[in-house]
C-alpha cells in the first residue's frame, strides 16, 4: 500500500488494466469505478423501469406475467437505490472529498478498494436471481414478511447480496469519516469545509448507524426462513409489523442518505454560478444535522396503516412535519444565494435549478403524506410513487447529473459539449415531469401501487406517464454520449473551469493529476469554498 499511495512522481499511474483498476487504491480511480458502475446500474434499473412502464402502457396484461412484474418493481428499486444512487454518491465522495479538504487520498485506501469490488459481485448475485427457479424476490424492495419468505430459491442469494451491499456501504462510510476527521489539510477547520463534505460526513454517520440495522433485519428474515425462529412469524408468537419497524428505522435515514449528499452538491453549484457566497453556511450545516437527527425518530410514518395506537400516530405525524422546517431552510438559503447574484446558466446550474424546483414539489407531497388522515388515502398509491420519484429522480439523480457536469472538466481535463448538455437538461426536465406528474393524479384517483394491470379509468394518465418514461429513458443515452465524448476529448479545461468556482479542488490542474496534495496545501480565505468566512 505505502509504495503506491506514497508515490513521489505525480502522474505516475500503475501500468496495466489489472494494476490500474482492479488493485487500485487511488481515490480518483476508485471514484471513477464507482461512477461507471453506478451509471451501468442506472441503465439496468432503468431497463426494468421501461418494462414496468411498457406493461402499464395500456390496461390488460400484454407483455409479462404478474409475478415477473413484481420481480421488476422489486429489483428495479433495489438496483436503483443500492446500485445506482448510493454508489454514485460514494463515487463523488471518493473523487471530491480528498480534493476538497486537501488530502492526498482517502484515509484507508485498501479498504476503499474492497468496498468497491464487493459491489459487482453483490449485484451479479442480485441480478442473477432473475434467472433462478421461482424468479427474483417479488415482495417489494421493503422485503416485508411474510410475503418475502415466499420467495423461491433466490431468497438466500438476494439476502446475501443485501448483506454484501451493506458491508460495502459501511466500509465506504468508515472511509469517508476517517478521511474527513483525520486527513484535512492544516487550516481546513470543520467549519471551513465545503458543504458537500459536511453533508457526506453526516451521511456517513447515518450509514454506520443504520446499515447494520438492515443487516440485522435481513439476518432475522434468514433465520425465520431456515432456522425456524419466529421473529416475524405470527404463528410462532412473532410479529410481522416488527419487521416494518426495524426496516423503516433503517429505511427512513436511508432516504436521507440518498438526499443529503445531493444537498451538498447543489450547495456547491448554486454559489459558483451565482458568483456569490453560499447564503447561511452555518445554518445549512445545522439544518443538515437536524434533518439527520429527525430521520431517526419518524420511521413509522411509512406504516400509518398497520394499526397503531392513536398517540403513536399523532406523534409520528408531528415529528414528520417538523422535517419540513430544516428542509425549508435549505431551499430558502439556496434562493437567497441566487438573490442579487450574477447568474449564468450552464448545464450544472440548470440541473441544480431543476433540482430546487422539483425537489421542493417532492417535499410538498411529502408534507401531505405526513398528515395521517390524508395518508390513509394516499398510502400505497401512485401518489406515493410520484412523491418518492420526485425526491429521488428529480432530487438525487438530478443532483448527480448536476455534479457530473460540474466536475467533469476537472475529472477529464476537457469541457463537455455545452449545447448537448443543455439539450439533455431540457429534454430530461420535460419528460421527467410527463413521467411522474400524472402519477399524482393516478394515486389520488385511487390507483394502488405495485399493480401490473389497472382499471381502464386510469388508462390515459398511465399512457402519458409511460410515454414520458420512454422519452426520459432515451434522453439519458445522451448523457452517456456526452460523458463519453468529454472523456475522449474536447476543449481543454482550465484549472478554475468555472468563473465563479471556489474551493481547493479548483486549485489543482484539470484533469486532476493522479496524485494531488501530497504536500498539504496552504488554506486561506481565497481558496476556501463558498461562504465559509470564519
Amino acid at each position: 500500500m505505502t509504495t503506491i499511495t506514497h508515490e513521489d512522481h505525480h502522474d505516475h499511474k500503475p501500468q496495466g488494466f489489472l494494476n490500474r483498476w482492479v488493485f487500485s487504491t487511488n481515490h480518483k480511480d476508485i471514484g471513477t469505478l464507482y461512477l461507471v458502475f453506478a451509471l451501468l446500474m442506472f441503465f439496468i434499473g432503468g431497463a426494468m423501469a421501461m418494462i414496468i412502464r411498457a406493461e402499464l402502457f395500456m390496461p390488460g396484461m400484454q407483455l409479462v406475467q404478474p409475478e415477473f412484474f413484481n420481480q421488476m418493481t422489486t429489483v428495479h428499486a433495489l438496483v436503483m437505490v443500492f446500485g445506482a444512487v448510493m454508489p454514485a454518491f460514494v463515487g463523488f465522495a471518493n473523487w471530491m472529498i480528498p480534493l476538497m479538504i486537501g488530502a492526498p487520498d482517502m484515509a484507508l485506501p485498501r479498504m476503499n478498494n474492497w468496498s468497491f469490488w464487493i459491489l459487482p459481485f453483490a449485484f451479479t448475485m442480485l441480478v442473477s436471481t432473475l434467472f433462478m427457479d421461482g424468479g427474483a424476490p417479488a415482495g417489494g424492495w421493503t422485503l416485508y414478511p411474510p410475503l418475502v419468505l415466499q420467495t423461491g430459491d433466490s431468497f438466500i442469494f438476494a439476502m446475501f447480496a443485501i448483506h454484501m451491499l451493506g458491508i460495502s456501504s459501511i466500509m465506504g462510510a468508515i472511509n469517508v469519516i476517517a478521511t474527513i476527521l483525520n486527513m484535512r489539510a492544516p487550516g481546513m477547520t470543520l467549519l471551513r469545509m465545503p458543504l458537500f463534505v459536511w453533508t457526506w460526513l453526516i451521511t456517513a454517520f447515518l450509514l454506520i448507524a443504520v446499515m447494520p440495522v438492515l443487516a440485522g433485519a435481513v439476518t432475522m428474515l434468514i433465520t425465520d426462513r431456515f432456522f425456524l425462529t419466529s421473529f416475524f412469524n405470527a404463528a410462532g408468537g412473532g410479529d410481522p409489523v416488527l419487521f416494518q419497524h426495524i426496516f423503516w428505522f433503517f429505511g427512513h435515514p436511508e432516504v436521507y442518505i440518498m438526499i443529503l449528499p445531493a444537498f451538498g452538491i447543489i450547495s456547491e453549484i448554486i454559489p459558483t454560478f451565482a458568483r456569490k457566497p453560499l447564503f447561511g453556511y452555518t445554518s445549512m450545516v445545522y439544518a443538515t444535522v437536524s434533518i439527520a437527527f429527525l430521520s431517526f425518530i419518524v420511521w413509522a410514518h411509512h406504516m400509518f396503516t398497520v394499526g397503531m395506537p392513536l398517540g403513536a400516530e399523532i406523534y409520528f405525524m408531528l415529528a414528520t412535519m417538523m422535517i419540513s422546517i430544516p428542509t425549508g431552510v435549505k431551499v430558502f438559503n439556496w434562493i437567497a444565494t441566487m438573490w442579487r447574484g450574477s447568474m449564468t446558466f450552464e448545464t450544472p446550474m440548470l440541473f441544480a435549478l431543476g433540482f430546487v424546483v422539483l425537489f421542493t414539489i417532492g417535499g410538498f407531497s411529502g408534507l401531505m403524506l405526513a398528515i395521517v388522515p390524508a395518508d390513509f388515502q394516499y398510502h400505497d398509491t401512485y401518489f406515493v410513487v410520484a412523491h418518492f420519484h420526485y425526491v429521488l429522480v428529480t432530487g438525487s439523480v438530478f443532483a448527480l447529473m448536476a455534479g457530473t457536469y460540474y466536475w467533469l472538466p476537472k475529472w477529464t481535463g476537457h469541457m463537455y459539449n455545452e449545447r448537448l448538455g443543455k439539450w439533455h437538461f431540457w429534454l430530461s426536465v420535460v419528460f421527467v415531469n410527463v413521467l411522474f406528474f400524472p402519477q399524482h393524479y393516478l394515486g389520488l384517483a385511487g390507483m394502488p401501487r405495485r399493480i401490473p394491470d389497472y382499471s381502464p379509468q386510469f388508462a390515459d394518465f398511465n399512457m402519458l406517464s409511460s410515454i414520458g418514461g420512454f422519452a426520459f429513458g432515451l434522453t439519458q443515452l445522451m448523457f452517456v454520449y456526452i460523458v463519453w465524448k468529454c472523456a475522449r476529448g474536447g476543449e481543454t479545461a482550465t484549472a478554475q473551469v468555472w468563473e465563479g468556482a471556489k474551493g481547493l479542488e479548483w486549485t489543482v490542474p484539470s484533469p486532476a493529476p493522479f496524485h494531488t496534495f501530497e504536500t498539504p496545501p496552504k488554506i486561506d480565505d481565497s481558496v476556501v469554498a463558498h461562504g465559509n468566512h470564519m
Binding site: V64, P146, V306, I335, M338, M343, T344, T360, H379, A445
Partner: protein
C-alpha cells in the same frame, strides 16, 4: 437594480407561476371535480379527509407559488447577461428567523385539523354491525359476526379471464374491469359498521377510497376500522398492500343498501345458506348435474377454456380430450379445488359451492366429446374438502 423593478418582476413571476399552476392543476378539473382528485367519498370522515387534503394542498400551492416566484424573479433579474453584479452578503439573521418561524406557524395550523380528524377516524367505539374481513392470497372473506353469514369475495370471472397475459380480450369491453367481484360486501346505510381486519397468509390492505381510509390486514393480528355510509351505492376498491402475484386482482366491491334492502339481503343470504347445505346433502341426477354444470362452466370456466371446450393455446388448455378431464377423478377434483401452481388455473374450493364444483366437473367430463360417464356428487366434493 432598482427596488420597484424587483417588485414588478416579482409580481409578474407570481402571476406567471400562478397561471402555470392553474393550467396544470385546476383548469383540467382535476382539483374541482372528483375525476382525478381524491374522492370526497360517501361518509362524513371521508369528507373530512378530503377537506384536509384540499387545505394542505392549497397551502402547499400558495407556498410553492411564492417560493418559486422569488426564485424565478432572481433568475430573471440577477443574471450576468443583464449586467447584474453579485452582492456580497452571506447571511441575514432577520430573514433566517422569519423563514424558520413562518413555516412553524403554518405547521401548527395544519396539525390542528389533522389531529382532530384523526381522532374522529380512530373512534371505533359502539358499532351497530360488526364485519370481520380476512385477506387471503388473493381474495377477501367477509364474516358477519352476529349474523352467521360468511363468504369469500374474489375477482369476477370475466375480469379474471381478460387479465391473463396474452388473453387478447379488450379490457374496455369488460364491465368494471378488475374492479368487480363475485360476492359483494353489503352494508346498510346510516349504521356504524365496525370492521375487524386480519389476514390469513401475508399482509393485505383493505381499501375502498369512498370510505376515506385503508387498513392493513396483518396475519395473527386484528385491526379495527369503522364507517357510516350516507348514500346508497356501489363503491369499489382494491387491495393496497403488495401481496404476491395476484395483488392487482383482488378488488373490493362494497354495496351500501337502504336498511330494508339490507334486511332483505340478510334473509336471502341465510336461505341461500340453507339451500347450499341441502344441495350438498342430496343425491343429484345426471341431467341436473349437466344442466347446472353447463351454467357454472359458462360463468366460471369458459372465459379461459372457452364455451366449446377447445381452450386457447398456449395458456388455456382444451377441456376436450384433456388427460385431467378424462383421467382420475380425484386429481381432477384436486386441480379444480386447489388450482394449479404456476398456471392461470385458480382454486375454486372457497369460491364455489360443493354442488357447483360437482356439477362443473360432471359437465366437463361428459361434454365436448369427453365420455367418461362419471357422475360426481356434491357430497364427494364435501368429503374431499374435509379430508
Amino acid at each position: 437594480m432598482k427596488k420597484e423593478n424587483t417588485l414588478l418582476v416579482g409580481l409578474a413571476m407570481t402571476a406567471a407561476i400562478t397561471v402555470v399552476t392553474y393550467a396544470i392543476l385546476v383548469a383540467p378539473g382535476f382539483l374541482t371535480d372528483s375525476g382525478m382528485n381524491m374522492t370526497e367519498g360517501v361518509t362524513n370522515s371521508s369528507k373530512a379527509v378530503y377537506d384536509l387534503h384540499m387545505i394542505i394542498l392549497w397551502i402547499c400551492i400558495v407556498i410553492g407559488i411564492l417560493v418559486f416566484a422569488a426564485m424565478f424573479t432572481s433568475i430573471f433579474l440577477h443574471r450576468k447577461s443583464r449586467g447584474a453584479v453579485a452582492a456580497k452578503f452571506t447571511h441575514s439573521t432577520k430573514a433566517e428567523i422569519i423563514w424558520t418561524t413562518i413555516p412553524i406557524l403554518i405547521l401548527v395550523v395544519m396539525a390542528v385539523p389533522s389531529t382532530i380528524t384523526l381522532i374522529e377516524l380512530e373512534d371505533n367505539s359502539n358499532p351497530d354491525i360488526i364485519i370481520k374481513i380476512t385477506g387471503y392470497q388473493w381474495k377477501w372473506k367477509y364474516d358477519y359476526i352476529d349474523e352467521d353469514i360468511s363468504f369469500y369475495s374474489s375477482l369476477k370471472a370475466d375480469s379474471n379471464a381478460a387479465r391473463l397475459t396474452g388473453a387478447n380480450i379488450d379490457p374496455t369491453t369488460v364491465d368494471n374491469y378488475l374492479l368487480d367481484v363475485d360476492n359483494r360486501i353489503v352494508i346498510p346505510i346510516g349504521k356504524k359498521i365496525g370492521f375487524l381486519i386480519t389476514a390469513d397468509d401475508v399482509i393485505h390492505s383493505w381499501w375502498v377510497p369512498a370510505l376515506g381510509w385503508k387498513q392493513d390486514a396483518v396475519p395473527g393480528f386484528i385491526n379495527q376500522a369503522w364507517t357510516r355510509v350516507n348514500e346508497v351505492g356501489v363503491y369499489r376498491g382494491q387491495c393496497a398492500e403488495l401481496c404476491g402475484r395476484g395483488h392487482g386482482f383482488m378488488p373490493i366491491v362494497l354495496e351500501a343498501k337502504s336498511e330494508e334492502d339490507y334486511a332483505a339481503w340478510l334473509v336471502e343470504q341465510k336461505s341461500a345458506l340453507t339451500v347450499t347445505q341441502a344441495e350438498t346433502q342430496r343425491i343429484w341426477s345426471k341431467t341436473e348435474l349437466m344442466a347446472k354444470g353447463e351454467a357454472v362452466y359458462e360463468q366460471q370456466c369458459a372465459g379461459c377454456h372457452q364455451t366449446d371446450g377447445q381452450g386457447l393455446a398456449p395458456a388455456f388448455p382444451a377441456m376436450a380430450g384433456n388427460p385431467v378431464t378424462n383421467g382420475s377423478i380425484s386429481k381432477h377434483i384436486d386441480i379444480v379445488m386447489n388450482g394449479s401452481e404456476g398456471t392461470a388455473m385458480q382454486a375454486f374450493s372457497k369460491t364455489l359451492t360443493d354442488a357447483e364444483i360437482a356439477a362443473a366437473l360432471t359437465y366437463t367430463r361428459n361434454a365436448f366429446g369427453n365420455q367418461t360417464g362419471d357422475l360426481i356428487q356434491p357430497a364427494t366434493i364435501a368429503k374431499h374438502n374435509n379430508g
